[in-house]
């Protein structure tokens, strides 16, 4: 234990300025294990490059339009779960209702095109803005509650929107569905797929960039603090409600964009499929599977889930066992990889590169004192009174 005198090297006093100057304590212990950290960053950079190359060359490599369209579906999943992860990953609010936001984005895009006659991509932008705007009141209501109650509210959001879009048939088409006109009517279907593949890839890149920016920012740290202990974060000066609302709106905006782009690509909207709890759950599953604390977690999850769903379908053919397989996959993730694939890999990686560190001090109190103070500790007899000491340094 360092002796009392050690604490005298007061940071603020050494700056010598007035009372409100922020304290800058003495220089820290250098961070441990700089090598592996740098190595990790290098690996990350390489991974990003490889990933980008893979995505960009995919349309050229895809043997047929079907594979390309499957790629679009996976990219759409990736955008959706990355969008979800703005809320789920940072603040820890698990929303099963993001499917509804995507559906809203899709319907808004479609209705803007059909009813207002806007050009497709203007409609898409308008729809994303609309979804973001609607996310303000929705978030205002939903974010008042936490934890499981929030989950319930988010489920309720899906169900209520389903009811509205089904019942308000005169406007939304109801159960007859809504047909969104093609943005590029002249394109053949394979070409159409290629264009949309790149559009989805671009959207994914933007979403990832936004997530990364938030992740490394003070704002992001504040959000993570909310995830850990909301009241505590508030007492430390984070405007928690505003922060939650902002990130919810961002998340909703991206989700709406993804939903709208999907609508433009897919063309047919039906409330039953647009407002389904399953969509939202898949977003959660993918993000969770990959790792909600990682930038690429949702993307990895989308890849795995996209491929797994396809595989289950082939494997179990026309029995509902594919549902069972999906459920089992989800359960396995929850039970054995609650932090996701990427962190699990990271742990493995760390175990090779770093020895297990212990949280317990490795030196006794006496050694610590000797190391810090060198000589015998100043005892009260030779210690000047506190006031004098502070007086001399200030």
């Amino acid at each position: 234990m360092p002796s009392a005198s050690e604490s005298l090297t007061s940071p603020a006093t050494s700056t010598g300025t007035g009372s409100t100057a922020p304290a800058v304590p003495p220089s820290p212990v250098p961070p441990a294990a700089g090598g592996p950290a740098r190595l990790g960053r290098l690996l990350q950079a390489v991974a990003i490059l490889v990933l980008a190359a893979a995505v960009l060359s995919f349309p050229a490599l895809a043997p047929n339009p079907y594979i390309l369209s499957a790629g679009i579906v996976v990219l759409n999943y990736a955008v959706l779960s990355t969008s979800w992860n703005f809320v789920g990953g940072f603040t820890g609010y698990i929303s099963l209702g993001h499917g509804a936001l995507a559906g809203l984005g899709g319907y808004a895009t479609g209705l803007f095109v059909v009813k207002a006659g806007l050009p497709s991509f203007v409609a898409l932008a308008a729809a994303a803005l609309l979804v973001a705007a609607l996310a303000v009141p929705i978030g205002f209501a939903a974010l008042r509650v936490r934890g499981a109650s929030f989950v319930i509210v988010s489920i309720a959001l899906v169900l209520i929107l389903l009811l509205v879009f089904q019942s308000w048939a005169s406007f939304t088409g109801g159960s007859r569905g809504l047909v969104v006109p093609r943005p590029f009517p002249g394109l053949l279907r394979p070409e159409h797929h290629r264009v949309f593949f790149y559009l989805f890839a671009a959207l994914l890149a933007v979403a990832l960039l936004a997530w990364w920016l938030i992740d490394r920012s003070r704002f992001g740290l504040g959000l993570k603090a909310i995830r850990e202990d909301e009241d505590k974060a508030e007492s430390l000066g984070t405007a928690t409600f505003a922060a939650k609302l902002v990130v919810f709106v961002i998340s909703a905006g991206f989700t709406g964009l993804a939903g709208g782009l999907y609508a433009l690509w897919f063309g047919d909207l039906d409330p039953v499929f647009q407002f389904s709890i399953l969509t939202g759950s898949y977003m959660v599953l993918m993000a969770l599977l990959g790792g909600v604390r990682n930038l690429f977690g949702p993307l990895v999850g989308a890849l795995v889930v996209g491929i797994a769903l396809e595989y289950f379908k082939v494997e179990f053919g026309n029995t509902p066992l594919h549902l069972v397989a999906t459920g089992v996959l989800l359960a396995l993730v929850v039970m054995f990889m609650p932090d996701g694939i990427l962190p699990a890999v990271g742990t493995l990686f760390n175990r090779f590169l770093r020895p297990t560190q212990s949280s317990i001090r490795e030196v006794t109190a006496a050694e610590l004192r000797d190391r810090d103070g060198g000589g015998p500790p100043p005892q009260s007899t030779e210690d000047p009174p506190m006031s004098e000491r502070t007086g001399t340094t200030a």
Binding site: A23, S235, S387
Partner: protein
């Protein structure tokens, strides 16, 4: 209850008379809070002076924590007003009060369990305006400051350990480091000594005095009388939700009412 003014000179030994003494720091008028049938705060009128180390003591359940909660906006008082440096903060949100310069710790020690100690401290760093929110969280100077606080509290070896894996006392210290990182002018500490090793407690005491010398005001709720008596300039004693005595340690120690209600001797 305006007793503070006037007994200024009695603690003059500390002599950091930088012109801020005499300015009122936290002040409440008729603060009342009832929980069902329990009157946790009963028209409490209290004033703490700027630049001092104040202590708030009183028996279990006398309303000290509730007082903190009301002052920091975590609980809405039923009636009464709170002000900080002559600005009314009665209905302000907790984060607004925190940004106005009032930091606090919790009695039941709250840290961010799945963040490393370093991130715990970094998360407390102050931001100035919306744009600074977009700055990187792990900038060098901030990290240096955060590590500095960990060092000062003797838990620098835990910088990369997740808070949930720490012992009770370590978490208490971590919480303190976080609040200090947020650089408040006034620090409300709810039982900082609870569960902290005595040797370290001496250091915390010294740290409080030191920070006080830098101009920070403290309000400390504590049952460890040795600590209270040794570091505070001014003591307010609560009983049943209202102050029953206040003054410098020497006065409080011999106050009849305090002896009867609290010290139990």
């Amino acid at each position: 209850m305006t007793g503070i003014r006037g007994d200024d000179g009695t603690t003059g030994v500390r002599g950091h008379d930088d012109g801020t003494t005499g300015v009122r720091s936290l002040e409440t008028v008729g603060l009342t809070k009832a929980f069902g049938g329990v009157l946790a705060l009963d028209a409490a009128t209290v004033a703490f002076q700027h630049g001092r180390v104040n202590a708030l003591i009183g028996p279990n359940g006398s309303g000290k924590t509730t007082f903190f909660n009301c002052v920091t906006g975590m609980i809405r008082p039923d009636s009464g007003r709170t002000s900080y440096r002559d600005r009314d903060i009665t209905r302000k949100a907790p984060h607004a009060i925190a940004r106005a310069g009032v930091g606090r710790t919790f009695q039941l020690c709250r840290v961010f369990p799945r963040m490393s100690a370093l991130d715990n401290v970094l998360a407390a760093a102050r931001t100035t305006g919306p744009w600074s929110q977009l700055r990187g969280a792990r900038r060098g100077t901030e990290v240096d400051r955060a590590r500095g606080w960990l060092t000062r509290l003797g838990i620098e070896h835990l910088a990369d350990v997740e808070a949930r894996n720490m012992s009770w006392g370590q978490q208490k210290l971590l919480e303190l480091a976080g609040v200090l990182m947020s650089d408040p002018d006034t620090v409300l500490l709810d039982e900082p000594a609870g569960g902290v090793n005595p040797a370290l407690l001496d250091r915390i005491g010294a740290l409080v005095r030191e920070l006080n010398a830098e101009g920070r005001t403290f309000v400390i709720v504590e049952h460890n009388m040795e600590l209270v008596m040794s570091i505070s300039d001014h003591i307010v004693v609560f009983d049943r939700g209202r102050p029953i005595a206040e003054g410098p340690p020497s006065v409080i120690r011999s106050d009849e009412r305090v002896l009867g209600a609290y010290l139990g001797v």
